[in-house]
Symmetry: C2
Subunit: 270 residues, 2 copies
């Protein structure tokens, strides 16, 4: 991978990277289009990164279908599908971690301690292996994009981080490989995440609202879906991820909701 | 710096990096020669990295003489002297650290908690800024070289880490910018570090020795220098930095000794 990348850069070509965990959907393919608009070559990595999963999470059963992913990549114009084995990225004596410390204590970082350390570590490794000029991340993972941006800037990686819009199913559910876990009833109710965002947007259009009040309303709204178990709903400054007291246009909203063991996330700028 | 480096690499030229804290001596210049033997261009960085100093250490008074350093670099054939300000490398909201977790709890890492996190973080930043093909470190900082090597491998930096031999004064004292702090009496006694290494080498040539016994003997030997205050003397496996029970040829020895506030280190393979 690295030899190809160094030679490609030496030839004066720009490399775009789309890091994924595979089981690709249209959301991923929209990131590929974004990468190809900004670079001469597109590398899509598929790696279910063990160190970003907590004990008890879905590492072992995370959906995988490499032949299908490769076909999708080929039709999307991906130049290289990079799918290393975990043992190739993590030697038995692996002991170095990249950790962002300011933006990772809240939201998904609070629910999944250690998760973002795994993310920033593997992204740093992928940057060094793929040597991209630009890397494209999805807006659906808002905190991940913010953390990766900060990490890349802090460590002076010569990589432009691009965040591309969330792609949605016709009913509004954000596309995610984890949607596959949902049974039909859960799938029908999962649209509650999108509806919550829409409800908050509509409310804020009328007037600014105390964050506590809006969270209470949204919590009630979400728990009205009988299969939904709210992990968090937060209203915060999109630059610092710090909670706001008064919600107004420009405030970022993010939420995480369990359906059975499946944890879904979504977010939007209000 | 990064623009020069990316253009230089694109031109097919190899870059060697010598990271330093400045106040250069012959030890540093031997690293430059090593870099120039392995690369087409040599970048020497001068940066007194605040995050690798602990509170109460010598950050503020660390010796600095940039004009002299630049003259030395020019005569040594250095192509670029890279001397960023601390504020250019650490934004007010800087929050990302690179941490090696297996090799940093012992030796200098035990005496200076947090020191190596500062080292690995700034070295990762320098690798990204200078984009070297090869980086040269001094053997005097044995643990630093081991930690940087592990970090570079774990994070897949495309950088070859070279460790060059310690340069010594005529009486055997390892060259160090911190030797400048020593008054004449301390300077005379500082050779005890080198003599300890020589004594251990001589002892091991005769027969293997229990580590505890050798440490006791060396402690007694060092404290015979009235101005010396031993920080540590350790006998360990050079690959894992784990202490050995039986000292034999191939065992690594390292020691740190204070003279007043000045902390000197040295090491050798026995």
């Amino acid at each position: 991978m690295q030899a190809w990348s160094l030679a490609t850069r030496r030839a004066g070509l720009r490399i775009g990277l789309v890091p994924t965990m595979g089981y690709l959907h249209d959301g991923h393919l929209s990131l590929v289009r974004e990468a190809l608009a900004r670079a001469d070559r597109c590398v899509l990595s598929i790696f279910v990164n063990p160190i970003q999963f907590l004990p008890g999470e879905d590492l072992a059963k995370y959906p995988r279908d490499l032949p299908r992913d490769e076909r999708l990549c080929e039709s999307a114009g991906v130049d290289v599908v990079f799918h290393p084995e975990a043992s190739a990225l993590y030697a038995p004596d692996f002991s170095t971690y990249v950790e962002e410390t300011a933006l990772t204590g809240v939201l998904c970082g609070a629910s999944r301690p250690g998760h973002f350390r795994g993310v920033t570590t593997v992204v740093a490794k992928l940057f060094n292996l793929v040597q991209p000029d630009v890397a494209v991340f999805g807006q659906k993972d808002f905190q991940q994009a913010a953390v990766v941006k900060r990490m890349a800037g802090d460590l002076n990686f010569p990589v432009k981080i691009v965040v591309a819009p969330t792609r949605r199913e016709p009913d509004g559910l954000a596309m995610s490989s984890r949607n596959k876990y949902l049974d039909p009833e859960q799938r029908a109710q999962a649209v509650i995440l999108y509806h919550s965002l829409q409800a908050a947007k509509a409310a804020v259009k009328i007037k600014s609202i105390a964050a506590g009040r809006l969270k209470d309303d949204l919590t009630e709204f979400i728990t009205a879906a009988p299969l939904a178990r709210l992990d968090y709903v937060e209203l915060f400054d999109p630059a610092t991820l710090e909670p706001v007291k008064l919600v107004k246009p420009g405030t970022q909203m993010a939420l995480a909701v369990f359906f059975g063991k499946t944890r879904l996330i979504d977010n939007d700028r209000l």
